[in-house]
Amino acid sequence: MKRYWKILLLSIITLVVIGSFYIQASLAAKNTVQLKLEKRSGNEEELKGLSIHGDYGSGNLTQSFVHEADGETRILSGLSLIEEFTTSYTVPVIDKLIEEHRSFMRGKDLSPNYFFENESLVVYAGVKRDYKYNSIDFSFDIDVLDKKSNEVKSIPLDLSDTETYGWYDVIDVGVVDGQLKLITRSSLVIGGEEVNVYTFDIEKEKLLGTEKLISTITKDNSWTELSIISNSSSIEQEKYILFTTEILKDIEKDGNYVQEATGHEVQVYNIETNQLKKIDVRDELFNSIYWSTIVDSKLYISTPMEKGIEVIQYDIETDKWGEKSIIDLPKYKNGYESIYTTLMNGKIYASYLTDDGHELYIGDLRTGKSLYEGKIKVSNNPNKTEALYIHYIE
């Protein structure tokens, strides 16, 4: 045995050192920063399925995290190779689809834009891109899953004048009366953008027709910026899609070129009736359109104010502006990146900074009532200095 002391000693030391390092590491892993929501008023049910994305800084380390409101906080930065490899960045609705239709979902682009689901169908409509030397060949990749029979229908469709497009994407999928509707957005090689609607007969697996909804053009020093406002994380039927176009121009000012908006337009498309309608929006309100949502046939637009949020209603069917309502956030401390608002599922979510930390507010858009109010707290923070930024809620 005496001759083996060196190797035995080295093996034992190695085992003990590496072993204790990883025991320590696994203990520490349980002690990472955790967000906690402390209810002040309202119903905790409102937190279900909610996830909060943000950055947390302590010392000179900043970590990105995702906090499931009814669960744990996951630190996203500093993931190990394998964690990075296996962490799915898909949204919960897609995760649910994968769970239910594992083989149908295989090999698909897992963005909710490309999916539609109702009681009887799951539809996927993605765009296949075949990269050529100096162009991209686009074609549709459409699969329809019949939930009852588990049958999958594929509808093939090649785009005829594909070389004229620089990019092609599907922005929404819907099914109306057995007809599949794809709303696509594409940019042209020569400049400008298009929004097209493709209508398919699912039964006959046939293209029924296409319609150009919006087309923008680019001139020498002016161009049009197109934005599409719809609930991107939803795979359910959406009745309305909101389009905004803003004409921008390069103007010389003191020797520098600056952009200036010379005009704008807001349009709403009804997917069921195939109608595109203009909405008259005041200039000051135009920028707030990005924080808007459509519930039933009402458009809600939110604007942050000094001590709260102002919400304005617009009725799409009657073309009438409704009354303003104010959400009072008395402790709101106005400042850079101090509020994050999102409107979805007929509710308004706001996280904002107060003198003692972050608060979360959830309100009902229809009634204007508060559903939940609470404090966002950070536990397990080892260092004194801390910073919290919330940049996304879904």
């Binding site: 080295l10 050192v17 590496i18």
Partner: protein, 276 residues
């Protein structure tokens, strides 16, 4: 003690002197690196404070504090780690060729041992693994010591304190220390697969000499292709067919196939084809 263990011990002792040199070099260079780096920060701070009449905390606000990362990212720490890594990579080859080179014909003795020759192969692989893990452990012992020296040398005001875990998770060091034990096993398992692949390629060369170099390269190419097959298929033909977890398991399976293949082919070569 069986012959495999004795062989491991034997191979171990053949390299131990150089190994101790590596360890000593690492300790000396890294510890002096901590001292040098801390000193140079302090000197810079003192000078700036004297010249610009700053307070210590003003200096920190203006020029930034010092953390152990500044030391661990420097060649003082990374250099010895790189040197150890390179030495071991070279030794992966030398552990075989040293039995053939020079006047001594120790390969005769090794291949005339009354034990399955695969044991020689496995003993050499085990030795490499022991040396690698030993150096990893050394670094894990050194980090807290170096961190402590850093704390003694640099005042609180100038310093951002990090735990050893935080240090180990930074940048290149996290390549040496995967986050959890499972990943550690997978990571170093993949590393050992690469070592056995090189071993088998060396045995191709030792069996067929010039032609064997060609065989060895082809063998390595095939092994790497098998290892990458799931990823390549995912990226090309199958168009993201597999979910991430499935892909991970396929990768592990591919790695096991490559490892088993390396040992199996290595065994055939060392048993039937190798030349002394």
């Amino acid at each position: 003690m069986n012959r495999y263990m004795k062989l491991v011990n034997f191979e171990f002792n053949r390299f131990i002197k150089l190994y101790f040199v590596l360890i000593a070099f690492t300790i000396v260079v890294q510890l002096s690196g901590v001292v040098v780096k801390s000193k140079s920060y302090l000197n810079g701070a003192n000078e700036a404070i004297k010249e610009s009449m700053l307070t210590k905390s003003e200096y920190v606000i203006q020029y930034g504090p010092m953390s152990f990362i500044d030391i661990s990212m420097s060649p003082w720490i990374m250099g010895p780690i790189a040197l150890c890594a390179i030495t071991l990579v070279i030794y992966v080859f030398f552990i075989w060729y040293r039995d053939w080179v020079g006047k001594n014909t120790f390969s005769y003795r090794l291949f005339m041992l009354p034990t399955a020759r695969l044991n020689i192969y496995l003993a050499k692989a085990t030795t490499i693994l022991l040396f690698v893990l030993g150096l990893i452990a050394l670094q894990l012992v050194l980090l807290p010591i170096e961190n402590q020296i850093f704390k003694w040398m640099v005042e609180d005001v100038y310093r951002i304190d990090l735990s050893v875990l935080e240090i180990a998770n930074q940048y290149y060091l996290n390549l040496l220390f995967p986050k959890n034990i499972l990943e550690f096993i997978l990571f170093y398992g993949a590393g050992m697969t690469a070592v056995t692949m090189v071993f088998t390629a060396i045995l191709f060369e030792r069996s067929y000499r010039i032609k064997g170099i060609f065989y060895g390269i082809v063998y390595c190419a095939v092994s790497i292709l098998i290892f990458l097959a799931p990823l390549l298929l995912q990226a090309s033909l199958l168009e993201n067919y597999f979910y991430p977890m499935e892909l991970l398991f396929l990768e592990i399976a591919a790695c096991v196939i490559v490892l088993a293949g390396a040992i199996w082919i290595g065994n055939l070569l060392i048993k039937n084809k190798v030349r002394v």
